[in-house]
């Protein structure tokens, strides 16, 4: 049977497209998507898998076909055809990847701005410090993003100072805060509000502090300190992330979100959990020997369950109790840390040895 070349090409093209689209939707490589932000990221990934599959098949197909079709016959010592190039063809395979890349870039841009990646600039400019957010009383939690990034600001020292006792007790206050310098390529990392929520403050603010080798979450408006992150689904959460000793990174694979925790800076991660469940919070930046066990849970629950949890915590861990604890023991961060690290199976000696105090000491 003799099928004309153009038809073969067409058929191969259709086949490639079908396989690529099928695989792009059915790769099953990602865990469940449990935040609203995850959806856009997954769609983006699916598109890239589709394109990637197509390219993969073209290149591997050509190689395998050539391998069998063009192998030298045993008695053939002649050279192949003298072909040095083909300008239209070369233009074609420059242009097509350029277009593909442009599509991916534009789509990525779109998704990035939808999850709030581009928001912080507009956001921080648009807000006078005297918004409702300040009423939360947590300078640490919100002041950083409110400071216009280009303003070499005299408040910088206050920016990091946590005014709520819970956060103040947990954070290392001695680390001087750095300020943003976008023109030098250095700013606090953030994922801000989605365009829908732009200009509004998040429903809940939580401060996350990374230290070797645990996460501590403080709820400025209720004074709760917890080793696990509780969040209500469907509500926008603003997580303010910083670190006391070395770099860490807050990552919840099911949320598809990750932010570095940097000592001296406070990064902002705004997101909306969308599926009830318990997910791992993983530290995704090498932070020392026990980096692998620096893990905890995020519990995404209904508003009612969340409220119940808050109440329980407030009884057990009231701000007053907390203040007395601080008064009694100046090394409070350790104290807070102790129960959590025991859960993680790290002995106190290790923690002691790697504690920030050690960092200060050894750095001089």
């Amino acid at each position: 049977m003799n099928i004309p070349g153009s038809i073969t090409t067409l058929l191969i093209g259709i086949g490639l497209t079908v396989i690529s689209f099928w695989y792009g939707q059915n790769h099953g490589l990602l865990p469940v998507a449990a935040s609203e932000e995850a959806v856009g990221i997954d769609n983006l990934f699916n598109l890239m898998v589709t394109i990637g599959t197509g390219l993969f098949l073209i290149v591997q197909g050509t190689l395998i076909y050539s391998f069998f079709k063009f192998r030298r016959q045993p008695d053939d010592d002649t050279d192949g055809p003298y072909v040095e190039g083909n300008i239209p063809l070369e233009i074609l395979w420059t242009a097509i990847p350029a277009v593909i890349v442009l599509i991916i870039a534009v789509y990525s841009f779109e998704v990035y701005s939808r999850i709030g990646g581009l928001d912080p600039m507009a956001h921080s400019m648009a807000h006078a410090p005297a918004t409702q957010q300040v009423a939360y009383g947590s300078g640490a939690a919100i002041a950083a993003p409110l400071v216009p990034p280009t303003d070499s600001n005299p408040h910088a020292a206050m920016v990091m100072a946590a005014t709520d006792p819970a956060t103040a007790a947990v954070r290392d206050e001695t680390i001087p805060p750095a300020q943003d310098a976008p023109e030098m390529g250095v700013t606090t990392p953030r994922i801000g509000a989605t365009p829908d929520n732009a200009g509004q403050s998040a429903a809940y603010q939580i401060n996350a502090t990374g230290l070797q080798f645990a996460w501590l979450f403080t709820y400025p408006d209720t004074g709760i300190v917890a080793g696990e992150l509780h969040v209500p689904v469907g509500k926008e959460i603003l997580l303010n992330i910083s670190a006391n000793d070395v770099l860490h990174a807050f990552w919840v694979p099911e949320f598809r979100l990750k932010q570095d925790a940097i000592p001296g800076r406070q990064s902002e991660l705004r997101f909306t959990p969308s599926k009830i469940g318990e997910y791992d919070v993983i530290c995704a930046e090498l932070c020392g020997a026990y980096h692998g066990v620096m893990k905890t849970k995020v519990i995404a629950q209904t508003q009612a369950d969340f409220d119940t949890w808050v109440q329980e915590q407030q009884v057990a861990n009231s701000p007053d109790a907390l203040k007395t604890a601080i008064a009694a023991n100046p090394t409070t961060p350790d104290q807070f840390l102790a129960p959590f690290v025991q859960d993680l199976g790290i002995n106190a000696a290790v923690v002691e040895q790697l504690h920030p105090a050690h960092l200060h000491a050894s750095a001089h």
């Binding site: 030298r72 192949g80 003298y82 990525s108 943003d180 750095a363």
Partner: protein
């Protein structure tokens, strides 16, 4: 400098290589200024370090065979992958791709008798062994455990002695690489044979020129970063230490300003090797010479302005993230030009599927997978999910192993007859290829899924739900380890017992094939003049040249 040349010319027999004296091997452990000796010194040294790096990787994979941290302490585990990566990058790929092949091939390809600065060349090489031994010695003092990236503040507090050793050793290796780069640039620009304009140079020279420019511009910035880091570490300043008002993000920028271009330093020369190998074994001219040549420079230019794609979750402003994302993705275009040109070179050829060709085709196949995952991680929103996970580990091994290592193997098989004067065993070569291809994919393909599902990198303990794929990966690593044995045996056997190689076993057109195998001291008996562009396969002139034998070396005898 070349003043030493005359004396040596007198003592060397007109046609080298035929009578190997018993003392021959000694020059390979001496301060030789012959570019061929230096090239082989680089190749052997770096391959030994590859075995060491691979041994460390095998330990890493063995630890990861079970979810618990049971084989080594978590602290040592960090040391293992840190040294693994440092060895692989600074002591294997960089010295092998630029040092070994650059030194061995460039003078031969451009028809020169040696590099521009032979002594400097030897100095650059002799910095490698001490640098490497120094690095390995860190295991006795607590190996550096903050990754090959050595981010402060962790690197300032974790295993400080090991870290100091790491810094010193990388500084030494970086200096060596800069000296090499200076030499390559001057040699390629100034010492080409008459008639060889830049546009007639073999493509490997273009690639090396582009890579050397990157070395020259980016490596010093790493040196700057390491100098500041060592002050923080040893003296106690706080450039990068936030507790003293320093900024760790500045280190990241400086580090990646080198280390991103470094990945192109590691791949561009290999692209060059592939561009040399494919036309010879496909018996066709390279498809789109100029496009391949210039795209090397496009890649090296773009490579300088994408570094912050390693920092999408740390402190980079949003608009800059977009800038870096787009630049990064655009690199797919010049790289794609190369890939498609290679495919078109193969297309319709008369493929000689020997070990060199198999590895070259394997290179294209594996590198493209790594390239595609590279473009994926360049997308900011997606990278926010997979940054610092096994997806990245998969990407980097597909480009570094599937790319650079496959390409280097192809190069070794292709030029083995020229370097040693003996043919290599093809059966063992093919066994090596098949084992490598299979082991490689079993080892690294599952890592994509692991990363997407939530396994972060640089951990000794992991969630038991990832156990199955990790076991698969570990098995793959063992196959990879085994795959090196046929290669090592093959090389050792063939060097001594292999069939004698003719001067031009593959029918190549570049100058090195027109001289004897191995080439005589000073490479050529006559000063070569370009007669034919390097890839004119399929023409009558090409046939004549190939038939003429090693006329550049034996002309004297005939004349």
């Amino acid at each position: 400098m070349t003043q030493t040349v005359p004396e040596q010319a007198i003592v060397t027999p007109a046609h080298g290589g035929s009578t190997e004296s018993k003392r021959e091997w000694r020059k390979y452990i001496s301060f030789s200024t012959d570019h061929k000796v230096i090239g082989i010194q680089y190749l052997v040294t770096s391959f030994i370090f590859y075995l060491i790096g691979g041994f460390l990787a095998t330990l890493v994979r063995t630890e990861l065979a079970t979810p618990a941290s049971d084989l080594v302490s978590p602290d040592l585990y960090n040391g293992l992958f840190t040294v693994h990566a440092t060895v692989m990058i600074f002591l294997w790929i960089v010295p092998a791709a630029t040092g070994a092949f650059g030194n061995y091939l460039i003078p031969l390809l451009i028809g020169a008798r040696d590099m521009a600065f032979p002594k400097l060349n030897a100095v650059a090489f002799w910095m490698i062994p001490p640098g490497g031994i120094l690095l390995m010695s860190s295991f006795f003092f607590g190996a550096p455990g903050s990754g090959w990236t050595s981010y402060p503040p962790l690197s300032l507090v974790d295993n400080q002695v090991g870290e100091a050793i790491w810094i010193l050793s990388v500084l030494i290796l970086g200096t060596s690489s800069i000296l090499g780069g200076v030499n390559f640039i001057v040699t390629i620009l100034k010492m080409r044979a008459p008639g060889m304009g830049l546009n007639q140079m073999p493509l490997f020279c273009w690639a090396m020129l582009a890579a050397s420019c990157l070395i020259l511009v980016s490596t010093p910035v790493l040196a700057g970063a390491l100098i500041l880091l060592s002050f923080d570490l040893i003296v106690g300043t706080s450039f990068f230490n936030p507790t003293g008002g320093g900024d760790p993000i500045v280190y990241q920028h400086m580090f990646w300003f080198y280390s991103h271009p470094a990945v192109y330093i590691m791949i561009l020369p290999v692209f060059g090797l592939i561009s040399e190998i494919l036309p010879v074994h496909s018996r066709k001219p390279i498809f789109g010479y100029k496009a391949i040549a210039y795209s090397s420079f496009a890649i090296s230019f773009l490579g300088l302005i994408v570094w912050a794609h390693h920092m999408f979750t740390s402190g980079t402003p949003p608009w800059l993230r977009m800038f870096f994302m787009i630049n990064t993705m655009i690199i797919a275009v010049p790289t794609g030009i190369k890939v498609f040109s290679w495919l078109a070179t193969i297309w319709g050829g008369k493929l000689r599927l020997n070990s060199a060709m198999l590895f070259a085709m394997g290179f294209i196949s594996m590198f493209v997978i790594g390239g595609i995952s590279g473009v994926m991680v360049a997308s900011v929103p997606f990278d926010i999910h997979v940054h610092d996970t096994y997806f990245i580990v998969a990407h980097l091994h597909y480009v570094l192993f599937g790319g650079s290592v496959f390409g280097l193997y192809a190069g070794i098989y292709h030029w083995f007859p020229k370097m040693s004067g003996r043919m290599i065993n093809e059966k063992l070569g093919k066994a090596h290829f098949i084992l490598t291809l299979i082991g490689f994919n079993i080892c690294f393909l599952p890592m994509h899924k692991l990363g997407l599902e939530g396994m972060n990198r640089r951990i000794a303990d992991y969630d038991p739900k990832f156990a199955v794929l990790n076991v698969v990966s570990t098995i793959g690593a063992y196959i990879l380890a085994v795959s090196t044995f046929p290669f090592i045996f093959n090389v050792l056997y063939s060097i001594f017992k292999g069939e004698k190689a003719p001067s031009n076993p593959w029918g190549g057109l570049t100058f090195e094939w027109q001289t004897t195998s191995p080439p005589p001291h000073e490479n050529f008996a006559v000063d070569p003049v370009l007669l034919i562009a390097p890839y004119e396969y399929g023409t009558e002139e090409a046939k004549e040249i190939i038939k003429a034998g090693p006329f550049l070396a034996t002309a004297a005898a005939e004349g």
